[in-house]
Symmetry: C2
Subunit: 365 residues, 2 copies
DNA sequence: CTGAAAGCGCTTACAG
DNA sequence: CTGAAAGCGCTTACAG
């Protein structure tokens, strides 16, 4: 009887099946099983029959059918670029917060991965096809332009690298965070402070540079363009940028400290320093930005500027759900000014006092 | 005219709208826009009209409606436990592979997070409601029992901690990986080798213990139960377990090396050693398992046993898609024997030669 | 308190 | 080569 077995197990039970088994309509079954508010309409005895029938048939509501009828998927999308070369700590911390908050609201989360924001912008439209109710953009790099983002779908961004119309952005006070860290470095006696920045032209890196320069200025340390070095936002990026700089400046005075635009860059920076025998923080201090897991597990542990990444992810979920709900109540207005989280200076062992004797950049081939 | 604007922008265009605009039926529009094989039925001229109309109306197929008609969501689910306390490196590496492979097959990925496998087992059923076509279980801890997993939905597991009926498991040769690492430690002269194991009773930890014991046996090193210490699979777990052990064995002989059941435990172990002033690898060698980012970014870098986690995630996607396709061809058989990846010994600085002089466990309060 | 009808937007046979 | 019909499984008004 493989065929009969097939027909028995081949299809999940529907509301109609449950209704039939309980001797009521599919609609009554729907009211009892899937709808919270109308369930009081059904008599207790009927309810009971329906619930028992559903249990016996292992009834599961079909999400697609429900979404089609409701125009609501109970699913949030997250779009982000994740590099091929392994894990992106920043993304994972944010995602953690998103997943937890979505779960609290009984929302599912679908992750869309992009290779490149500018190249894959069209793919964003493909995501907004009814399978998600709204979309969270993580650190988007989108050039302003009309028709960029689909209408019909609410958006929230985290760390947007440009102003996005009709999109609320969740960000942190990066300028102040950078300022506090550089002020801390100055307080440790450092004066020749390098800044390994992120890719130029993006909002985030610019804000960190602004904080860096403000702190230098208030300490009356002249800004030296030689000490502002751009790097890709990864450990490899930090390592390569610093290696290159050290090679180019061999024999010159070593900076007292390096303030890196994120933790990954700082990790790579420490690798490059270790390669040429420089000790952190004895010979040179290093600081990061983000306070990801990498900062806590590196040796020495990395002084950094904490952004509450999981909390920011969670906030994005809250904002997105508010906007989704708002779609159904036209006329009301919903604010779209950015939500700004405070940063926090995290002092750890990778920053020490300025060395008594000036170091030189080692000569290595 | 806010109302008219509302009705104009308030709803996305449907196939019927496109058909109307192009002067054809919705079905013709469907054939041209959404169906690959029947599109040749339409004349080139009609095609063109339809495509243009769709572009003008910004037509996007509705995923829910399509899923309902097709019984296919083009979405894969991933279920995993992710602790509240930040990021789980193991999960993130696997997820990376899953996301990339799913994207290659134009599948979306929905992440379901559980707090606890045994407590949240019922929630798995809730996920299998037509919104995903199949589900990947990451490191599931499920007690055998009938009715555990929903029928109607194909499953693939990665690192399943128990035998799951009708579920293909993707695993690595953990016993051999552990054996190779301990053999390497022995080759470095170590004889008193501690093993910080994962939670007892699970398949993965048991296999690593088996490899550990086999390597000891072949080196004629007697097994010492005192050196087999269970730990939770996190950095905190490793730190706490080792702290406790060191306190209990103060003044006794220090082990020459610690083989940890995963990288996170090893990181925690190194923290606990650093706290009492023991240097890695000068005083004691430490090795991990997995080769996650933590192993590459720790200082000293962590010797470990690489499991190709992203590749394993990708393989799970391939297996799952095969099983989903297979659902529609009853009668054919699909194998469900596990897929076993090789492990690879990764030698790094955290393992050094056995110290010349025996160390004692420091006395600290 | 309960049911019959219509519809969400798509696709898959079936007719022409 | 093209269209009218029926159906996927659910929900939301509308009748009784």
């Amino acid at each position: 009887m493989p065929t009969s077995k097939q027909s028995k197990h081949g299809r999940a039970a529907t509301l109609a099946d449950v209704g039939r088994a309980a001797g009521v309509s599919a609609m009554a079954a729907s009211a009892v099983l899937n709808s919270a508010r109308t369930s009081s309409r059904i008599s207790a005895e009927t309810r009971d029959r329906i619930v028992k029938a559903a249990a016996k048939l292992h009834y599961r509501p079909n999400a697609a059918a429900r979404a089609l009828a409701n125009r609501r998927m109970k699913t949030l999308g997250v779009a982000a670029v994740i590099g091929e070369s392994g894990v992106n700590h920043y993304f994972m911390e944010v995602l953690n917060g998103v997943l937890a908050a979505a779960a609290r609201h009984e929302q599912n989360t679908t992750v869309f991965t992009l290779h490149d924001w500018t190249r894959d912008t069209v793919r964003l439209h493909g995501f907004c096809d009814g399978r998600i109710d709204g979309l969270i953009l993580i650190a988007p790099v989108l050039l302003p332009g009309k028709g960029l983002l689909p209408t019909h779908t609410p958006f929230v961004s985290i760390h947007a690298n440009s102003q996005l119309p009709h999109v609320v952005n969740v960000e942190s006070d990066e300028e102040r965070g950078a300022w506090e860290m550089v002020r801390h470095l100055v307080a440790q006696g450092h004066r020749r402070i390098m800044h390994l920045t992120g890719p130029s032209g993006l909002l985030g890196p610019e804000r960190r540079i602004a904080g860096y320069r403000r702190a230098l200025a208030s300490a009356r340390i002249p800004f030296d363009p030689q000490l502002l070095v751009p790097a890709v936002y990864t450990a490899e990026g930090g390592r390569d940028a610093l290696r290159h700089w050290l090679k180019k400046h061999a024999g010159k005075l070593l900076p007292h400290a390096v303030f890196c635009a994120n933790d990954s860059i700082a990790i790579g920076c420490m690798e490059a320093l270790a390669e040429v025998g420089l000790r952190v923080p004895d010979d040179i201090s290093v600081a990061g930005f983000d306070d990801t897991l990498a900062a806590r597990t590196s040796v020495p542990q990395l002084a950094t500027v904490r952004q509450p990444l999981p909390a920011m992810g969670a906030e994005a979920v809250e904002l997105l759900l508010a906007r989704i709900a708002h779609q159904n109540e036209p006329g009301s207005v919903i604010p779209d000014s950015p939500v700004i989280f405070p940063t926090e200076l995290v002092v750890r062992a990778s920053v020490g006092p300025r060395p008594v004797v000036e170091r030189l950049v080692p000569l290595v081939r």
